[in-house]
Structures are given as C-alpha cells and as structure tokens.
Subunit: 168 residues, 2 copies
Amino acid sequence: MTRRELPLDPIREAERLWTEHGWPDSAPGMAAVTSLMRAHQLVLSRVEAVLRPLDVTFARYEVLMLLVFSRRGTLPMSRIGTRLQVHQTSVTNAVDRLERAGLVRRVPHPSDRRTTLIEITRAGREVADTATQRLNETVFANPGLTRRDTTTLVDILARLRRQAGDFG
Amino acid sequence: MTRRELPLDPIREAERLWTEHGWPDSAPGMAAVTSLMRAHQLVLSRVEAVLRPLDVTFARYEVLMLLVFSRRGTLPMSRIGTRLQVHQTSVTNAVDRLERAGLVRRVPHPSDRRTTLIEITRAGREVADTATQRLNETVFANPGLTRRDTTTLVDILARLRRQAGDFG
DNA sequence: CGAAGATCATAGGACGTCCAACTATCGGAT
DNA sequence: ATCCGATAGTTGGACGTCCTATGATCTTCG
C-alpha cells in the first residue's frame, strides 16, 4: 500500500537537520511544536471518527458537554467562548449547527438584551450522553499512551498552557 | 477586561467532573485529548503570528522547508503529502497559494506524466530563511517549557504517534 | 497485449478557526 | 441626563483539513 522502506520518524529527522544546520538551541522546540501539530491531528481524527455517526463534531460536543455540566443546562454564548477558549464567531458557528440539529435552543436573556442564552434540549442531552459513552470507551479509556505517559502529558501541557496565559 | 475570579484550569475542572460522574478510568484520557487540542491552538497561534508578516502560514512554511531540505529543491506533490502527513488535497491547496505568491513553481515530471514536481524559487528560499530565523528566535528557542519538559513532551508524543501508526 | 487495479493530482463541498467590521445594548463618567 | 467606551453576537471572508468523486497515467497480470 505505502512504502516499505522503514519509515523513520519525520520529526526526529527534522530535529537532526535543524541541529546540523546550526540551530541546535531551537531544535527541541521545533520538534515539540511539530509533534504537537501531528499528535493533534491524529487524536482529532480518532475522535471525529467516533462522533461522525452521531452527526456532531468535537467542537460541538464540547459545547454540549459544557451545557450538560451547567446548573440549568443554559449558558450565555460569551461564557461558552471563554470556557472553551475559542473565538466568539466559532461559538456562533457551532451553535448555529447545533440549533439546526435541534440539540440546543437560543433563548433571550431575561435582563440583558445583548446576551443570548443557549439551552440544551432533550435530544441534545441524549446525543451528549451517547457520545460521551462512546468516546470514553473507544478513545479516552485508551488514548494510545500508558497511564503514566498520559498524566505526564497532561501535566506538561498544563504548564505550557499556563505559561501561555491560558488560565493561571 | 475579563473576570478576576481566579480562573482555574478548565481541563482540571473537567477531569474532576469526569471522575465524579462515574468515568474515572476515562478521565485522564479525556484530559490528555483536551489538553492536546488547547495546546495545539495556543502554539499554532503563536507561530502564525510570527509568520503572518511574511504572508505564509505554518502549513505552507512546512512545505517550503521540505523543499529547502531536499537535494534539488524539488519534490513530487505526493511525497510532500506523505512526509507532512496531510491529505493530498491539502498539498494541492498549499502549493496553489505558494505558487500564486511566487514561492514555488510546478514543473512536469520527466518520466511520469502523472506526477507534478514542486520546485522552490529564489524568493521561496528567502522567505523560508527569514521565517526560520524568526521562528527559531521567538518560538522554537522558547516554546514555553523547560528544556526537560520539552524533550519529555517530544518523547511522549513520539510514542503516541507511533502507536497511532504514524511512523514506526 | 490488453484489461483491471493502483497512483497522482485536482475540483467541489463541509467544517472549524480566526480576523475585521458592524449593530445593539449596557453602564459608568461627566 | 447624556455621551462614549465596553460588551454581546452576527456576518463575511480567508485558510487549512478532510472526504468523495473524477480524469490521467502507470503497472501488473492473466
């Protein structure tokens, strides 16, 4: 199907080249950034494959779960954006699709007419539950790493995120 | 500007909720997947900010570097796709834009009329050099992690990628 | 040698993300 | 009381990624 000539890790290759070309101090950082890009793609596609039959994407699944975990099953758009760390327009996009699919509903905020509240529907909760179950079973319970690597990864990325001003 | 109420790490929060809701075995995996998504976004936006003034994106930068590192400054489209682990259509897209910007050129393959060779231009090399220098200085030399964390991260993600069939 | 199968590249479409611009609405300062 | 800056959402556009389908070209094998 593909090539059999022992496919080396392209990122290790790049790191070697980086060092040889006189940028040894930047080689590890380059490798880290590149690894992150690839790993993200791989993991995302695994997740999307699981969600596809349910007609949701990971982005929309995250919105649903945020609503499921909220007290009243209701949140302002703005709150969704800050919690998920995505641009407001991405929230509008996700909510548009979720609403079209009948999984959430836009309702006016009682006191502030600028804000729109998003309310999860019965169908939305069902999709969220099914999706969670399948993701837990097929991906989260088996992310492709040992338990030890998994927690180390989470810790390191937490430091990276904090350092980037993500939360702390 | 935003809220001052000590913003906790949303991912730690989610992990806690996951455990409380009866999915303790999947909580670490969920946290890992989610962390990867966020970290990817953060790092990518840092990189794109550096490249924007040069009118290239990271995806196109990667194509340019692949060509820079190749013997003759020439590679078939298909080769670019497999090396960068992206879909063929993404390569077509990137090459279209690079060619429009005069950074690469499409030339016919001498013996196989199906394949198209991509050749980097003088201008392409200059952009690649400048971009590399700036990325090295501003991002790769300082990825937001200690050197130790950086190498650990690369190692863990390598295991993840191999496990997903990325190379090994 | 000729048909069937594999490979290469492109076109069109769906999605998510960001940015810039714009409209409403709120709220605080003068 | 009013004016002006901050905040909430939407719209339109640029990009990257994938998927499916399609047209050319090899390649392999009966």
